[in-house]
């Protein structure tokens, strides 16, 4: 016989309170490269406040390396691949969302930034813009 399981949110008496502290926040940042990126460069894209729980990340990157070497990760201080790990999205350009298993619902206890870190630097010298949007909540 199968078992119904419940997350804490669905446990008895946890209560639905529509529009009571369920608001969603967003922060967006754009950075246009000024010089060719190199390995281990870090770009601080947006600030994230203490108390925030990150729900989703949208990373939009222009074509920066048609020679297909560039890799980029998205994370935060001390965990540079926490949200997107070694993406090739910057080679041909595109959009990538949070994709690291377990990376959703990260709760921050101190102010931090959401950062793009260069893994392998590009071969080409193409400059371009990267845009990052974070959806988060301040709900406990």
């Amino acid at each position: 016989m199968t078992t119904p399981f419940y997350s804490a949110d669905c446990a008895a008496n946890s209560g639905i309170q529509p529009r009571a502290g369920k608001a969603l926040c967003s922060v967006s940042g754009t950075y246009t490269t000024l010089t060719k990126l190199i390995a281990n460069d870090i770009i601080h894209m947006v600030k994230i406040p203490a108390g925030a729980t990150v729900l989703d990340i949208i990373f939009d990157c222009a074509v920066m390396d048609a020679s297909a070497a560039l890799t980029l990760s998205v994370g935060y201080t001390g965990a540079n691949t926490a949200f997107i790990n070694v993406s090739t999205v910057g080679q041909a350009g595109g959009i990538e969302r949070i994709s690291v298993a377990g990376g959703t619902q990260k709760a921050f206890t101190a102010d931090d930034t959401i950062q793009v870190k260069v893994g392998t630097g590009p071969t080409d010298t193409t400059l371009g813009a990267m845009k990052l949007t974070v959806l988060y909540t301040m709900d406990p």
């Binding site: 199968t2 946890s14 529009r19 729900l55 377990g102």
Partner: protein, 150 residues
């Protein structure tokens, strides 16, 4: 000649009022297999009620983050609600081969589902049990983004 089409939201005079009642809501839930599930491996047709969704909500997006659930490649899961177990995601295979993953709302036509006339839950549903070793630890996480706007 190509045609420009308009959704009802974009038709002239259809009152776009920026930030007037246009708020987004979110609800997130986690299920720890080891503690909330007492370390019992999922079996076929198990259901985990992950988050509550209130009457009147319009579901816009669902993000399902799963840990490794199957050492082999048999596991299949879905996401739905009390009326339709596979309303939002079907045939999902993230969690196979000892690797976690993230999946999103993907059933065509399921976005903007707005027929919740009563409170319900958004559920994770095992549709095919693991064929290898099934996980007895790990955390399932779900986030639902929704609105109450008419």
């Amino acid at each position: 000649m190509a045609t420009t089409y308009y959704s009802p939201d974009c038709k002239a005079g259809n009152n776009v009022i920026p930030r007037a009642g246009a708020g987004l809501c979110s609800v997130s839930g986690q299920f720890n297999i080891a503690t909330d599930g007492a370390g019992v491996a999922f079996v076929d047709e198990d259901v985990v009620q992950m988050v509550k969704i209130p009457a009147g909500a319009t579901v816009l997006e669902i993000i399902m983050d799963v840990p490794p659930l199957d050492s082999s490649t048999g596991l299949v899961w879905a996401v739905g609600d009390g009326d339709s177990a596979e309303r939002y995601m079907t045939g999902q295979t993230a969690g196979r081969s000892s690797a976690g993953g993230i999946a999103r709302l993907g059933v065509a036509g399921s976005s903007q589902y707005a027929s919740y006339t009563a409170d319900d839950t958004i559920d994770f549903h095992i549709t095919t049990v693991a064929s290898g070793t099934a996980a007895v630890t790990g955390i399932l996480k779900m986030t639902v983004i929704y609105t109450f706007d008419a």
